[in-house]
């Protein structure tokens, strides 16, 4: 908003009307126009009524003069159109004047009409004056050329009354309209001022307007808790600042008045422990505005002392000028300050101002809280980083200690050096030298050992990763050709594209079977490799062990029927809740049963017994097969080792038993084999995986198959177990895993 030289009152200044206010007075201008038309019509009617023989030319003149009034009542133009309306008025009135005897005639005052019209329309009266003059000149010039006849007597008088009276009334109306327009203007300004006030109220800082004499007459924006508004109204230097800072504030005010701006930091009188910074600016009208900020927190961070609040060097001249008591809004200097200089806002605005201020404060509080939360998070991060560093240091020292131990351990079996040295050199110097040399050597050895250990560790990790990658790749590369082998042979086996000779059909069958075998082999090799690479992860969960075993038995049922072997499962009626890898448990059973079926002749039996015994889960797979030679038993369980002559080996991958053993060991259990050549074999897997249930109950073997239980009692130390009805005197080989439970050793 451009500065306006508006007086404190609301008197119309006669200056230009701005857009919105002119619009507001539009209704008045139209009414005024209509009034004019009515007045003229009334005059004409009166003339016709009084003088029947009145000159028709004169009546016509009245009509012409009144016509623009009708037009103005319907149309309220702006801009250029406004000028044409005024021009129309000038033409009409000039014509009327000319027709009624020119400038000397009774209607000559009508030449003022353009001016009055311009007044009612707003937007400047200069063009109105010009058009009025134009109308006057026109009337005079035309009058000179053709002297119209002047009427006589009463008619002339009546027309004179109409001419002068109408213009007088029109002038009164026009002035009223114009004044109302300018009042509307003042209202518009007030609205804008109110808006501005709200905006100022939202300022995030405290803004203060002052006159030249330190008189504060308006305060806006966010209040400072440590400074009351009352203390501010007393004057920035005179009341707001402490006595000690007063002179410096005055100096800053003087500096701002002289040079345009200045800054000063001072302690507020209401709370001297705080520090307030005032940024001062001179306004265009010569007053001052100050923005105040509480900088106590910032100041605390700066070095304490006077240097922290550099005062503006007091100008020598202005200081004495500030001794006077503060002058309030009535001061002559108050008026020229622009829109910020507003008397106290109306109550409604004040409420709004307050609520806005409150909202702002709330936002600031929230921002501060967020800031604090961020700081806290940062601190926590720092703490975490510190503990990480500490951990790293600990790790390092642990490594060093380990390396030292290793070196010492290596040094122990070769105590060759020390005695000869001590014996040979008796001089203390030589001894010290020797010791230093030994120490140096020790340090060097230590360093070397550490480097070697680190390198080895890194290499081991690298190897492990390479191995994992290799395994994944190998699996992929083997499966790809196998897909074609098995796919095509399955198509042939199913005779999808027509009949095959019996021989070819059999070959297709064999190819497919071999493919499946290869597939199993690949899976086993991968599992084994993963276990050896210690990359195999158990997926432990709680489940009923009977379910896993039953699932394996279901899968093997068909195979058992194919080879004519009777497959039986023996398990308790109650669930055996275990915490183990379900897949591993199933795999253990599958592998053992698969093995047993391979080595058991037709009409033989394979029995799978599942028990919870002495805190252990026991799975036994016993068969009435060919048995295992005692010489072979030791090799079993190692990868790719199979019992018997090489001709028999094609029947298995040689990995099944190794996997069973590995799975058992991963669970902290073990696997043992009892076998008698020609009688049969029993493989026992024991796993410490029973879930701790309150009702573990007594041994579950009471109701189970009597044929196998006796053979599986843990034997103290590879002593042959008691005779068994089915297996005779089986030889027991214990294969104790890493995690063999201690109860095994103590058992009698």
């Amino acid at each position: 908003m451009a500065p306006q030289s508006e007086a404190s009152g609301s008197e119309a200044s006669g200056s230009e009307a701005s857009g919105p206010s002119a619009r507001r007075s539009g209704g008045g201008a139209r009414l005024w126009s209509l009034g004019w038309a009515v007045l003229v019509a009334a005059g004409a009617g009166l003339a016709l009524a009084l003088f029947a023989d009145a000159n028709p030319v004169w009546i016509t003149a009245l009509a012409i003069g009144g016509l623009p009034g009708l037009l103005g009542a319907l149309w309220r133009p702006t801009g250029l159109a406004r000028l044409s309306l005024i021009g129309l008025w000038a033409t009409a009135t000039a014509s009327a004047v000319v027709l009624t005897g020119g400038v000397g005639g009774p209607l000559s005052p009508w030449c003022l009409m353009p001016l009055l019209v311009a007044l009612t329309l707003g937007g400047g009266v200069l063009d109105g004056v010009l058009f009025s003059l134009l109308a006057l000149v026109l009337a005079a010039v035309i009058g000179l050329a053709a002297q119209p006849p002047l009427p006589h007597g009463n008619v002339l008088l009546l027309f004179a009354v109409i001419g002068a009276g109408n213009v007088l009334l029109a002038a009164l109306g026009a002035i009223t309209v114009a004044r109302r327009g300018s009042q509307a203007l003042t209202r518009a300004q007030q609205a804008e001022v109110a808006e501005l006030q709200v905006l100022l109220g939202d300022l995030p800082h405290l803004a203060v307007a002052l006159d030249r004499n330190d008189g504060v007459f308006a305060v806006f924006g966010q209040p400072l808790p440590v400074m009351s508004h009352a203390s501010l109204y007393g004057g920035l230097a005179a009341a707001a600042a402490t006595d000690a800072d007063r002179d410096r504030v005055r100096a800053a005010l003087g500096e701002a008045l002289d040079h345009g701006d200045s800054d000063v930091t001072f302690a507020p009188a209401t709370d001297p422990s705080h520090r307030i910074t005032a940024a001062l600016r001179r306004t265009a009208s010569g007053g001052l505005v100050a923005v105040l900020r509480d900088v106590t927190g910032e100041a605390a961070r700066a070095p304490v002392g006077g240097a922290a609040f550099p005062a503006i060097a007091p100008g020598p001249a202005p200081v004495p000028a500030y001794g006077a008591a503060p002058v309030r809004a009535a001061s002559p200097f108050a008026a020229p300050i622009p829109a910020t200089v507003v008397p106290a806002p109306p109550p409604a605005d004040q409420t709004r101002l307050l609520s806005l201020t409150a909202r702002l404060a709330e936002t600031q509080v929230k921002a501060k809280e967020a800031d604090q939360a961020r700081l806290r998070a940062e601190e926590e991060l720092h703490a975490m980083r510190d503990s990480l560093l500490a951990l790293e240091a600990q790790l390092k020292s642990a490594h060093a200690a380990h390396a030292a131990l290793e070196t010492q351990a290596r040094a122990v079996p070769t105590p060759v050096f020390a005695p000869p040295v001590v014996a040979a050199v008796s001089a203390p110097a030589a001894e010290a030298e020797g010791r230093i040399a030994a120490l140096t050597a020790q340090v060097a050895a230590l360093e070397a050992a550490r480097a070697e250990a680190e390198a080895r560790g890194a290499k081991a990790e690298e190897t492990l990763q390479a191995r994992s990658r290799f395994l994944a790749n190998m699996s992929h590369e083997l499966r790809t050709p196998l897909n074609a082998i098995m796919g095509f042979s399955e198509i042939m086996r199913a005779r999808m594209f027509g009949e095959l000779t019996p021989k070819y059909g059999e070959y297709a069958e064999l190819i497919h079977e071999s493919g499946r075998h290869l597939m199993d082999l690949i899976s086993d090799v991968l599992d084994m490799s993963k276990i050896e690479a210690e990359r195999f992860q158990l997926d432990r969960e709680m489940f009923d062990a009977r379910e896993a075993v039953s699932a394996a038995l279901r899968l093997m049922r068909v195979q058992a029927e194919e080879v004519g072997v009777n497959l039986r499962g023996v398990m308790p009626g109650q669930p055996i809740l275990v915490d183990a890898d379900r897949r591993a448990l199933k795999q253990i059973t599958l592998n053992l049963v698969s093995n047993a079926l391979k080595f058991t002749p037709r009409t033989g039996h394979v029995t799978v017994t599942t028990h919870a015994v002495g805190g252990l889960l026991e799975i036994t797979v016993a068969d009435t097969g060919i048995g295992i030679d005692p010489a072979d038993l030791k090799r079993l369980g190692r990868p790719f080792e199979q019992a018997g002559a090489s001709g028999d080996r094609a029947r298995g991958t040689g990995l099944g038993l190794s996997l069973v053993k590995a799975f058992a060991q991963l669970h902290g259990g073990d696997m043992s084999i009892e076998s008698q050549l020609g009688e049969g074999t029993a493989v026992l897997v024991r796993l410490p995986v029973l879930a701790p249930t309150p009702a573990e109950g007594p041994r579950q073997d009471g109701g189970s198959d009597t044929a196998s239980t006796g053979a599986h009692r843990p034997a103290p130390s590879a002593v042959p177990a008691p005779a068994n009805a089915e297996y005779g005197h089986p030889r027991v080989v214990r294969m104790v895993g890493r995690g063999a439970p201690p109860s095994d050793r103590g058992a009698a």
Binding site: S475, H476, R479, T480, P481, N483, A484, G487, G515, L526
Partner: protein, 121 residues
């Protein structure tokens, strides 16, 4: 109308196997061994089903599947991953990649045909 199946497979023998199997069932096949070409073929021929090998010479089949699923015009075409990645976690990884089904190699012909039929009706 004959259903069209796009086979993306870089092994010739496996390509022949899948083609012969689908051909015997009366399906029309489009074949490619490259991921980029698979995308172009899908765009030009609008197959009813895509069999996707995952390990391809240039771009992974998973990447191609991602592009297919991001394309509004092609995302509706079901993608069956037929792959020799059959180790622990592979199926989850591939299904998360946007494939509607997963068949591991070596395939079972019966299961393979059942799965294809499930998508082609």
């Amino acid at each position: 109308m004959t259903k069209k199946v796009l086979i993306v497979e870089d092994n010739e023998l496996n390509m022949k196997l899948f083609h012969d199997l689908l051909d015997a069932q009366g399906y029309e096949t489009l074949q490619t061994r490259e991921g980029l070409q698979a995308l172009a073929l899908a765009r030009n021929h609008r197959p009813d089903l895509i069999l996707m090998d995952i390990q391809l010479p240039e771009i992974s089949g998973l990447e191609v599947t991602k592009w297919l699923k991001e394309d509004d015009d092609l995302s509706h075409i079901p993608v069956i991953a037929v792959t020799a990645f059959a180790m622990k976690g592979d199926e989850e990884r591939i299904r998360e990649g946007g494939c509607e089904a997963y068949i591991s190699k070596p395939i079972s012909v019966t299961y393979f045909l059942d799965t294809v039929r499930r998508f082609l009706g």
